[in-house]
């Protein structure tokens, strides 16, 4: 019984952490069809900004938010200057966001140096429930992620803004006739996706070492999460995909090491996607 509970808790934590990391990618890919290959770099940036903020005395939470906002702003600039000219060509946006990744990673190395940085854990320790010790910090961000997903779901389905965005995705022509500013909406969505990536980076920073390439693994996993979950399904898809990818990784890691586990999960996911290309939850 206790083993079951501890496995469930572990799974939930891993699922939600992955979902947090993948959320920004899911939003951008799901809503505006751009494969943001710079997603990992934006995560890394968020982590570095958080570290920098804490270095000058800003408390953790504010550093994370500030970092996210800066990354979101960078995203908006990128969209405005470059990305928005290539929306009808998905290969170009892929390459351009990849170029962003290359340039950004180098700039990070130049400004911050290539060494590892650490961000101190604001909630160290464990929650002791008797038979199992749950890491406090992981729990905190898992709960935060859950709240965030619910909040986004609320905005998306219950508010006018959300309805407008969904209208735009379904039919641009009609949406613009209804007075919706398409280009502004695209900017907002892109910026928000980058903001989420930055926030995710800041939030995972205490759990890993902050380095110029830390976001890379999250890029590939986020990619898998989104495609396995189903591309248009930003909420249910991201959660489902995270559950599959994260859960599988944990299980396989029990029998071998972490690295092999990741590779095995990739292969498994590729095969599953070949059989069901639309992901777990089909696109609208």
């Amino acid at each position: 019984m206790e083993i079951v509970v501890s496995v469930l808790i572990d799974t939930a934590l891993i699922t939600l952490t992955l979902a947090l990391a993948a959320f920004g990618l899911a939003i951008i890919y799901g809503l505006i069809g751009v494969i943001n290959m710079g997603h990992g770099a934006m995560l890394t940036l968020g982590a570095y900004f958080t570290w920098a903020g804490m270095g000058i005395g800003i408390p953790f939470v504010f550093s994370v938010i500030l970092g996210g906002l800066i990354v979101g702003f960078i995203g908006i600039i990128l969209e405005h200057l470059i990305i928005r000219h290539y929306y009808d060509n998905p290969f170009d946006t892929l390459l351009l966001t990849w170029a962003f990744f290359l340039v950004t990673t180098e700039l990070i190395k130049i400004f911050f140096g290539p060494d590892f940085r650490t961000v101190t854990n604001p909630f160290p320790g464990f929650i002791d429930i008797g038979f199992y010790k749950i890491p406090t910090y992981r729990t905190a961000i898992s709960i935060l992620t859950a709240i965030f997903i619910i909040f986004t779901g609320f905005v998306f389905f219950k508010t006018t803004t959300g309805i407008k965005i969904r209208a735009m995705i379904q039919n641009q022509e009609v949406a613009s006739l209804l007075g919706l500013n398409i280009s502004l909406t695209y900017k907002m969505v892109f910026g928000f996706g980058c903001f989420m990536a930055g926030v995710a980076g800041g939030l995972v920073a205490p759990m890993v070492s902050v380095s110029p390439y830390m976001g890379d693994m999250y890029l590939v996993r986020s990619f898998f999460v989104v495609i396995v979950g189903g591309i248009g399904q930003i909420l249910s898809g991201t959660l489902a995909g995270s559950f599959v990818i994260g859960g599988l990784e944990t299980i396989v890691a029990l029998f071998s090491d972490q690295v092999i586990a990741q590779v095995a999960v990739f292969l498994f996911a590729i095969i599953i996607l070949r059989l069901r290309p639309q992901g777990i939850f089909s696109e609208k």
Binding site: I35, P90, A99, V103, V220, F266, I270
Partner: protein, 326 residues
């Protein structure tokens, strides 16, 4: 008469002729480090060509070319380690190319036989690089793990009596030059054939070409296998030239370097991609020694600019300038 023939050769073929003649004659005029290192860049040029036939001709972006290069290189390394009576030269090269080609054939068949979305394909090729890299790192007994494998310079046997050792610079140079030239001509012939034209049709409008009765999955699988074969061939020879193979040959960043080479060289031009591989790789190396902190940034910015403005890369730029003045 000679002038008439010259006039009939297309611009791109003229450029290719010039480049190969230059490379062929170079060792007569120069010696030293350049002659030592240029074969490596020629092999990178072949690797670039292997991406060009996918990306430029068929519209398939692969983030996994490094995986095939590494498979070729490691095959050479493993054959070498195996030692024994067999001369690893031919076995290493042929097996490296074949194994890489077969992996590409299987992966290609798997990915193309169902209409998957392009993002899935990109992800799969990305994953391929990661998988090969992780395998290279983890299977210590076979691959030497993180440390990799050492490979000597091979000796080719021609007939029962002639031995052609690639230990020295000049013999190695001409061997690689010969392979590069042969491969380039073969690929050029393939792309100019009916097969190549159909690939262009697939790139231009896959729905239209399949509605004309062509099995696009078949064509894409074959070109992917050819690409893998070529990349593996280059990798196998590289293994012997560099003397050393390690997991970094398979990493995603190397795959994307190849994309940068082809983008800058000219994705729609075979000779452009070849030149791109040679020039950008050597430029990167040069910049690395001159400004180790900034060279990747410079390359990244050039890549950015090429995608936005110079979509046909160097090849396109050269063509435009040529047309302006002649």
């Amino acid at each position: 008469m000679a002038i008439k023939i010259l006039k009939n050769i297309s611009g791109e073929n003229k450029a290719a002729l010039i480049i190969f003649i230059l490379m062929g004659l170079l060792p007569i005029f120069i010696s030293g480090y350049i002659i030592f290192i240029l074969p490596q860049y020629m092999l990178f040029g072949l690797l670039a060509v292997s991406l060009c036939i996918l990306w430029g001709y068929s519209g398939i972006i692969s983030f996994g070319q490094a995986a095939f290069f590494a498979i070729g290189a490691y095959t050479m390394g493993i054959v070498f380690k195996g030692g024994g009576e067999i001369n690893p030269a031919y076995v290493g090269i042929v097996c490296g190319a074949l194994l890489s080609g077969i992996v590409a054939l299987i992966v290609g068949y798997f990915l193309f036989s169902v209409k998957v979305r392009s993002s899935y394909f990109v992800l799969a090729t990305l994953a391929l690089s990661i998988v090969v890299e992780q395998l290279a790192k983890s299977q210590k007994d076979i691959t030497g793990g993180w440390n990799g494998l050492f490979v000597d310079r091979i000796t080719l046997t021609i007939g029962p009596f002639i031995e052609y050792s690639l230990f020295d610079d000049i013999p190695m140079y001409y061997f690689v030059f010969f392979i590069t030239l042969l491969s380039f001509i073969s690929i050029k012939w393939l792309m100019a054939s009916k097969f190549g034209k159909i690939l262009i049709g697939i790139r231009e409008n896959e729905d239209r070409i399949s509605a004309l009765g062509y099995n696009t999955s078949f064509y894409k699988t074959i070109i992917f296998a050819v690409s893998g074969l070529l990349a593996g061939l280059a990798g196998a020879i590289y293994g012997s030239h560099a003397g050393f193979v390690d997991p970094s040959l398979a990493r995603v960043l190397f795959s994307t370097e190849v994309i940068v080479w082809v983008a800058i060289g000219g994705r729609n031009s075979l000779i452009g991609s070849l030149a791109g591989g040679i020039l950008v790789a050597s430029l990167s190396n040069y910049l690395n020694s001159v400004t180790p902190e900034y060279w990747q940034l410079i390359i990244g910015m050039i890549f950015f600019i090429v995608i936005i403005i110079f979509r046909d890369g160097l090849a396109g730029g050269v063509e435009k300038t040529y047309n302006k003045f002649f």
